[in-house]
Symmetry: C2
Subunit: 200 residues, 2 copies
DNA sequence: GTCTATAAGAGGATAGAC
DNA sequence: GTCTATCCTCTTATAGAC
């Protein structure tokens, strides 16, 4: 067991696999590519992970840990307005799409459709990632208090926000253009505006 | 060239590949599985298609031809109400999810995320499928006339309907439960109700 | 914990007879 | 157009020395 530096070989493998799964998908990423990119030999990888599937699970676990530091915390630092936070989060996905030429989008969503039918354990981790994301958004919607109608189900609306983000990033990817993403967010904003005006 | 029966070997290969891509994904479907399922030898498949990628393009072309007979026509036959048609279409996806234990959902969406970054020609066909779908929905929204606000962009709202359907089916797949799909459609319906009441 | 070497199989694709 | 046989590459994973 190492003591001095916890950015271990294991961490480097997970980090590298995460990047490659994001750009090429799970099936599209060979073990060889991970080894090369991480500068590691296969003996090391299989010392830490029994199989490629187990590595996938570790990657999805890492995503759970990244949600707050990478996505939620910056949004909460940027604005105190609870509904503003929802759209700031969606804006950060838009920035990510633009930076990557609409190649990426939501790393979890990309994996979700690829592995949900065939990898039960990984699918559960995808679900946990989605649940954690929705819980954060739901928290903001609860914070919005009277600005939203009282009879509106906050959890259901949070799900809806995830739905819109995932569906919108899919179309940005398929079109290699940001327009469909922006159009969808515009409609969602419109919905929120109507909810807010109805709450008054 | 055959004359009597146009349900040719080529058609059977495309049909079989379509089914398998739907259940196992593109990368997850081996040529061997297609051959076995279709009862065909590899010589025949490669007589009709230069490569697996070319077969994928043929499958996506077939989907374009299936859109009206399988999805749109039944919906238009079932109801004359233009907004009712939008939700009848979403209901038919719900039925498909339920029939398949939430394993499937939208065949195009499933392929979209898998191949958009790596298969340019196939990605264009995905886009064409999405465009054709949106054009149908947009037509209904135009038919809705004064029931929707005049300043509302029908094309953008049609995009939004696709966004919600795709995002919702993704979550149904990841959760292996229909609930998130239904919750999202409920929110969309709520949005439409508010649009209709605003148009009055 | 990490190295090299390699097993064992599946993948897509082709050649040439019929 | 369809058949059999097969090539070749890439894949995941393991064995055993260090």
């Amino acid at each position: 067991m190492k003591v001095a530096n916890e950015q271990t070989t294991r961490d480097r493998i997970i980090e590298t696999a995460r990047q490659l799964f994001l750009t090429r998908g799970f099936a599209g990423t060979g073990i060889a590519a991970i080894l090369k990119e991480a500068g590691v030999r296969s003996g090391s990888l299989y010392y830490f992970f029994k199989s490629k599937d187990e590595l996938l699970v570790a990657v999805l676990d890492q995503y759970k840990g990244l949600l707050r530091p990478i996505l939620i915390d910056p949004v909460e630092a940027a604005t105190n307005d609870p509904i503003g936070r929802v759209f700031a989060l969606l804006e950060s996905y838009r920035g990510f799409l633009l930076e990557t030429g609409c190649r990426m989008g939501c790393p979890i969503g990309n994996l979700a459709l690829e592995i949900s039918d065939t990898h039960d354990e990984a699918r559960d981790r995808v679900r946990e990632n989605f649940d954690a994301w929705c819980a954060c958004v739901e928290g903001w919607l609860v914070d919005a208090g009277d600005r939203l109608p009282n009879d509106l189900d906050r959890a259901e609306l949070a799900r809806f926000v995830l739905t819109v983000m995932e569906g919108a990033q899919m179309q940005a990817k398929a079109n290699k253009k940001i327009k469909a993403y922006e159009a969808s967010i515009t409609q969602l904003r419109h919905y929120f505006e109507m909810l807010e005006s109805r709450a008054k």
